[in-house]
Structures are given as C-alpha cells and as structure tokens.
C-alpha cells in the first residue's frame, strides 16, 4: 500500500477521533450538570457508553450476553487480575458477607490502592519486555535475572505511585545512566542483540510494539506488503537510537547512555551498526533483504523530518513526540493493551497491529477510554477503574453452547484464563501459607564435572521456568506433564505446608478445616456435595495431617484453582 494512502487514512482517523471526542464531551457535560455529580458517577457514565456499544454489537450479531457473574466469582477474578493473588479467607468472607450494594465498586477502589496492583502490573510489563525464555545466566545466556526482576519492581513502583503513563514511558525511552540507579535502563539491553548490546532495530521493534501498538517488524528488512509500513518508516524510527551505547561490567549490562565519540568506561560497547552517517541519519544494514546501505533520515512515524544539531541527543526528541497526547497511537495503544490484559483480547487485535486499516471491534469503547485516559493525564488507575466497573468485565465466564467464541470475542462473556506464573506462585504460597515455596528438585551443588553443569536458579526462577505461561495469550493452556507431575507429586504441595500444620496445631474440626481450605484456595465455601465428599475422605483415615493435606492437595490440583474465570 502506498504511503499516500496511509497519510490519508491517518487524516480520516484523526477526523473520527475529533468527532467522537465531541460526543464524549457532550455526554460528560450532561453528567456534570447533575447536582450530585461525583467521581463515581463519572465512572458510571463512561461505563454506560462502553456497555451500550458492546450490547449493541451483540444485538447486531444476534448474541445474548452472559449475565453478571456471582459475587464470589467476581471477587476471585478481580483479586487475581488486579493484585495477582487470590484473596485470603478474611478478605473473601468480608466481601461475601457485605450487604452494601456498591461493594463491587468499593472493592475495585480498595484493590487499586493495594500494593499488589503495582506488583502485578509491573510483572506483566516485565514479561512483555523480557519474555521468560530470553537467555539468562540460569540457562546459558547473558540476561541478568536479578536486573530483570528489578525492572519489574521499578514498573511496580511507578504504577503504585500512579505516575502518569506518558511519564513512565518517557523515563524508559530517555534513560541515561547506571543500571543500579535506573533499573529501567535494562530495556535497551533486553531489546538488544543476543548478547544484550543495545541495537537501534531492536529498540524500534519494542517501542513501536509496546508503546504504539504497531508492528513494524517486517519493515525492518523490506517494505511490508501486508501492512502499510515501508522499510524507510522503520529505519526513520531506528535513527533515534543510533547513538545509544552501553557499558558492561563483565558479562552484565551496567549502564546506558547517549553520548558521542568512542564509548568510554569499563566494558563500553557501541551499538552494533558501524554507521558513520551524520546525527539524524541511519544506514540500513547489510543484512537487510532490500536497500542495504541506503541512508534514511530520522522522522517521527509518518510525519515530517526533524532538524537536529550535530551533537544533540535524539531520544528526548523522540520521547516528546512519542508520549504526547497528540500522538494518535500512544494513549490508544496502552488502553488496548490494558483491555487485552483483562479480556485476553484487544479491541484491536492483534494488540500490536493498530495500523489504520486494522479496525477496532468496538471503536467507541476504544475512543471513550482513550479520551478518558488522555483527559485524566494518563492516569493508569483511572483507566483500570473504568474497565473493571463495566458490565463487560463483570459478566459470567460460563459458556453457553456453540456461540462461545463469538460471544467472548464480542465481550459478551468474560474469558476463562489460566493463572499466569506469578498468579499461580502467589496463590500457591498463600494457600499453603508458605512464603518460601520451593519446588526445585535440583540444587546448585549438582554435578560440576566438566561439561555437565546444571543451571539451577533460585526457587522463584525455577518456578517461573517450570510454570511459564504464554504472556501474549492468557487463554492458552500450556501446562502439560512436567507441571502436573510437580503438582501431583512434589512433597511441598502434597504434604499440606504450614497451613495444614496450623490446622492440626489448633485441633481444627474436619468441617471447619474443609471450609477454611476451600476459602484459601477457591475463595468460596464448599458446596454441600463437596463438603460431604471431603468429610467422607477424612473419616476413612485417622491421620488428620494426612487427610487435611489431601484435601488441600485436591484443591490445588483443581481446574478451578488454576483458572481466572
């Protein structure tokens, strides 16, 4: 597709944006006229717009949306989605017994203030930037595991402080300095070469995909015949990263900077292109299918050229455009990505292909949320609050006959998702009340003869390695024999952990024990059938430690435990 077409498409898109924004303003205006206008009402107003479009689309397809889910299911879902962990028994019972009609909205507010919110979003962004299969010191590569965790923690802090998203991204894109002070600097190493050296092409792929929702991958080597991107679009972006260089401390990435001349400092490494072109220009490297050696001028994506001084740092210039509220992709990409985190599907799908010709399934939903996000100065918690308060988020995940997939894709049904590695680890630790849960079967002292080392990480790394999930599709169940062999047989899971020890020590009666164990795992009391079966199992064996552990083991191996639904 030609460049001209694209520019036109973009203009049209901006036109639509403006029109919708006006509509949105009118609706919000009507609402502020209300004498008792509050923040909550505002939320309600926005969620109504969202739910109206979703309902209309369902109607157009002759689909009937699922009813709202039960309080118990909602509670477990929102705890896992927001804080990454199931509620404990006290929290669960408090919510379930509350008679307050606004208790769902209140719970959402409470959880957004919980530290778990940042922790979970931080881990999600960590895994999007650094998928678990990247090389690490634990598997024969260079990626420092601790630095990657620090990156996740850095994001967690930003989210918990509710730092505006444009500010967070600015701090990632323009990072300059030592990794120990600025953990987000690892971004340039993770998106770099196999050995972790920053690379313009890698940074470009990551920044366009993660922050703009655009997939320019193919355009790295040739004009993309299926999309609108030309190869020069890609390299015009890459030119911003031409001067990024890094310092390594031994094998490990230690600092990132954008200065000129030869790299300085211990283990300094220049970017991999040996490019002698002027500042603001980049040469397409030799290994490209097309146009190798061609010099490309730096531009904002689909925009006019930029004049730069000879020694001017380039990333701040990029960031100014990238994180601006006028950038047609930036806010929208975050909204779509966040939506997809909850619904396991973006409003534009795939989430990093938001080019104009790939239309959103629900344009109004995307637009109203984007405008809200921009209006609120990129307030992440506000955006999440809006999403969670929709009926769409609070619908049952139960499937009804054949229309399942269509219904889910139209957001008439909440998806059934598999617990992410972190959600599973935290929920297991909570259920067993074992903060140091360790499912390793090997230790570092394993065989050290030449050529036989076993890379063994700490208990968290090894858990992640075993229970890795698909960070791009939470409805994709990837566990198989090794994961279930661990849950079936590992003594840490089958022998009840500190939780059962406490039940035994307190001489807990079987009925109460079963009740507690259900709450700590499935966040609900047992049904009469479930209670009877568990009690029957307990009565057949005088050893309560064994039987209580057995009930807990059974619960941890339940499908219901492994799922968000």
């Amino acid at each position: 597709m030609s460049r001209t077409f694209l520019s036109m498409a973009r203009k049209t898109l901006l036109g639509v944006t403006t029109a919708l924004f006006v509509l949105h303003q009118v609706e919000l205006q009507a609402e502020t006229d209300h004498p008792n206008s509050t923040k909550a009402l505002e939320v309600e107003k926005v969620t109504q717009i969202i739910d109206r479009e979703i309902t209309q689309k369902l109607k157009d397809q002759n689909l009937q949306s699922n009813p709202l889910t039960s309080d118990a299911e909602f509670m477990r879902r929102v705890y896992l989605d927001v804080t990454g962990c199931t509620p404990n028994q006290t929290e669960a019972q408090a919510f379930l017994s509350s008679q307050d009609p606004h208790k769902r909205a209140q719970l959402i507010d409470t959880l957004l203030q919980d530290e778990g919110f940042g922790t979970q979003q931080g881990r999600v962004w960590r895994d999007w930037i650094a998928p678990q299969e990247l090389p690490s010191e634990g598997n024969g590569g260079n990626q420092p595991i601790q630095a990657t965790r620090n990156l996740g923690k850095w994001f967690a802090d930003q989210f918990n402080q509710n730092k505006p998203w444009n500010q967070i991204v600015h701090e990632v894109v323009t990072v300059d300095g030592q990794l120990k002070d600025k953990p987000q600097g690892l971004f340039y190493s993770l998106t770099g070469t196999d050995t972790g050296i920053p690379e313009p092409a890698g940074a470009t792929r990551a920044i366009t995909s993660l922050f703009l929702g655009l997939d320019l991958q193919c355009a790295q080597c040739h004009d993309d015949p299926y999309k609108e991107w030309k190869q020069t679009d890609f390299w015009a972006q890459a030119a911003f990263f031409k001067n990024v260089q890094s310092n390594f401390n031994g094998r490990y990435f230690a600092a990132v900077t954008e200065t000129f001349g030869k790299p300085t400092g211990k283990g300094a490494k220049k970017i991999t292109t040996r490019d002698r072109s002027n500042n603001g220009l980049i040469t397409i490297p030799k290994d490209s299918f097309e146009n190798a050696g061609k010099v490309v001028e730096m531009t904002y994506l689909l925009s006019e050229k930029i004049q730069v001084e000879a020694k001017q740092p380039l990333r701040p210039i990029l960031s100014e455009w990238l994180t601006s509220k006028d950038n047609p992709y930036f806010a929208k990409a975050f909204v779509n990505r966040t939506w997809s985190y909850f619904f396991a599907r973006g409003i534009v799908e795939p989430i990093d292909d938001m080019r104009p010709s790939n239309k959103p399934s629900h344009p109004k939903v995307l637009e109203v949320l984007t405008q809200e996000f921009i209006q609120s100065k990129f307030d992440v918690k506000h955006l999440v609050r809006l999403i969670l308060n929709t009926d769409a988020y609070q619908r049952s995940s139960l499937s009804i006959e054949k229309e399942d997939k269509k219904l889910r894709e139209s957001f008439g049904r909440y998806p059934v998702k598999v617990l992410s590695t972190d959600q599973l680890y935290d929920s297991l630790r909570q259920a067993l009340q074992d903060p140091k849960l360790d499912l390793r079967t090997y230790d570092k002292k394993a065989l050290r003869r030449f050529g036989e080392s076993s890379p063994v990480g700490d208990e968290y790394t090894e858990f992640q390695r075993l229970f890795e999930t698909d960070e791009n599709d939470s409805t994709h169940f990837t566990h198989g024999i090794p994961q279930f062999l661990a849950l079936l047989n590992h003594p840490q899971v089958s022998s009840g952990g500190p939780k059962v020890d406490k039940l035994i020590k307190a001489k807990t009666e079987p009925q109460q024990a079963v009740n507690e164990l259900y709450f700590e795992t499935l966040s609900r009391p047992p049904s009469p059938d479930e209670l009877d079966e568990a009690l029957e199992y307990i009565q057949e064996d005088p050893d309560n430690k064994r039987t209580y552990s057995g009930v807990l083991w059974m619960l941890l191996n339940r499908s219901e435990f492994m799922l968000v639904r």
Partner: protein, 425 residues
Amino acid sequence: MSLNRPIDRRELLKLSSMGLLSTASVPWFETLAQGAAQSTQKRKKSCILLWMDGGPSQPHTFDPKPNGEFKSIPTTVPGVHFTEYFPKMAKVMNEIALVRGMSTGEGGHYRAKYLLHTGYARTGGFEHPAIGCIASHEIGDPNNELPAFVTIDAGFDKGNGGRLYRSVPAYLGTRHAPLLVRDPSKGLENLPEEAENTELDRRLKLLKRSEGRFAKKVSDPLVRTKQAAFDRAVRLMRSDRSKAFNLESEPTYLREAYGHHKFGKSCLMARRLLEAGVSFVEIFHRGWDDHEGAAKRIKERSPWMDTAIATLITDLKQRGMLEDTLIVWMGEFGRSPVDGKGHYARAWTTFFAGGGLKTGQAIGKTDEKGKRPGGTVVDRPVSTAEFMATICYALGIDYTKEYIADGNRPIHMIDGHAKHIHELF
C-alpha cells in the same frame, strides 16, 4: 508399541570384542519385549537428534584438513578420516553418513537454531513447529503414555552460545510439545519411584468427582485441556513405560560403556525411550561456541562424546534397532576453518547414522586449498531445507505435506520445494 529385538549372538560377540559390552543384556521391558516377539509388524521409525548447541567445529571433528590443529585418523571406510580424538566412532564409520557440504547461510546463534530446528527462517510473530514436534505429529503413537517427543538436557560447558532454542509445536498443538528431562542421571523430575500409592488413589478419587462436575459446568476448551494434561501425567506415572526414565535397571557394564558423563546417560536413556515407543528424542549439550579456539575444548569433550555415540550406534545395532533409528548429529552451524574460532554457516558438517540409510559414505566435500582450507563447499552443497527433508524422508514422513497454520494459512512442512538427499537412500 515398541519392539524390543532379541540380541544377535554374533553381534554381541563383535560388541564385546570392541570392549563395549561384557555380557548379554536382558530386555528391560519384558511385557513389551514379549509383545514384540509376537508381532510381525514392522517397527516404526524413530529418531535421536544429538544437538551440539553453539556450533561444533568441523575441522576438529569430522572434516579434518591436512594443516589442521588435530591429526587425522582413518576410519573403517577407506578414504574417510576423522580427527584423532574420535577413535571409537571411527570404528563405526560404516554405520555413519557424513554430510560435509552443509551450506545454510545463517550465522547468528538463535536464528540459526530456529532455522535448523524448523527449516524456516525466523520471523517475528509467527512460530514454526520444530522437527521433533513434526515427528510427534506425524509418526507419534497417540496411545502411548509417554509423549512422542522427549528432550534431554545433557548439561553445559559454560554459558555461551546464547539462548537455547526450545522446540515449539506451534499450530500442531500442545500435545506435541516435548517433555524435558533436565538431568538424565536423576530421571524425570517429580516422577515417583513407586507407581502404587493408595493415598494418592484416594486423593485422585476425591479430585475426580469435583473435576467432573466442574467440567460439566464450565465447558471451556481450557478446562478440557487442563484435565487432559492432568490425566496424561497420571497415566504416565502409572505406566510401566515410565521406567524408561530410570537408568538404574541397566546393567553396569552397559552404563559404563555409555560413559558416566550426562551425555552418555542421555544416549542410554534415549535408547530406552525409543524402546518404550517414543518417536523422537533430542539430546542437547551446550557450550560449543568456542570463540577462544575449538582445539582445547573439543579435546576435553571428545572422550565422552566419542564413547557415548559409538556405544549408542553399537548398542542399537546389536538390538536390531539401528535400521529403524535415525541418529542425527549437528549444531546450528559449523566453525571457521582451521582454529574454529568463528561462526561458520557456509561450509560445515553434520552426520546421520542408522535409519536404514546408505551409510559408510561422506557426502559432499569442502576445499583443501590455501592456508585456511575447508571454507568452501566444492561438491554437493546441502541446504537447510534439503537437510530437513532428509530427516523427514528417513522417518517415513511425507515432507511435501501442507499444514494449515492459524488464520487458515497454508504452510509447507518443509520450506519450498526442497528434495531429500537422494544419495542416502
């Protein structure tokens, strides 16, 4: 069903004279062995892939050159030489077919690992299934309690060679994902020694009732996938075939013949897994990215590699399994001529053994000229696609087949219109 052939006396004597075996071995898997004896069915083909991660050096192994860092020695095939550090393998060269003209063009570790596992260049956002997953899909036995594709980690020298490629089934389905054995000396992680366990039975019974109700209530594909995966784990635990992961029951002399290095143990486990009906075993050993020069490292590695591979070939042969078992030895590329310091994808060496192929030959040739001989293929270059097609063909897989990937996208099993290496058949 695995067919465990009785041992041929003469073969055994030959083996003993090589110092590999001292007494007759007893089929470890009696019920299956009995089944085998009664069956006249042809044994299915299977494959052991020996993956030297990081890129092994051909001038230091199987394509020696006159001015190389190692001396060369003759093999049992006239005119074919190995380097001096592979004397045991030299004795079974008649069972080996070298491919000395590998010409694959991709010199970056991860992209090359992807290419040599899938036959396709890596493109972002689209995964191709690995050869082991393809084999699982095409020739795996779906009724076997063991997965058709098992990978074994044989350890590593040091952390080089970058990210390890892990086989992905992509659009073939999760069922064809490999089962990883992290340490062959410890067997399969979390597999209990005793299959019988009354407490576990009681717990499973308790679990089953609620799982049944849940599946009725939530009829989501994800729930069915979970329950199927869980059941597969239980069936594996209960199956006699899971003994394949335990090397303890192998006679001492045989374990010694394979060697005490994890690589040798992996080879022995691979043989047991094939006997138990597994179709594809990939053994990987990491650390072959010898930028400081390949001579020292390969000299250190060669004893265990030479011993294990020679024993594997001989052991399979004397069990009558070699005809049906394809052995493939390779890395993601070779190394630069003479010192092996650099990555080299233009001219490098792999080998096949067994599998009913025309062995005892070296296919393809690299040059002998100049100060750095071996940098160019002068006869019979083999592309990645031809190489992949050869593996498929040897396993009885129709490589011209098309798969349907996500989004109804038709995709060839093997890229383009490549043909297998006909000289091998």
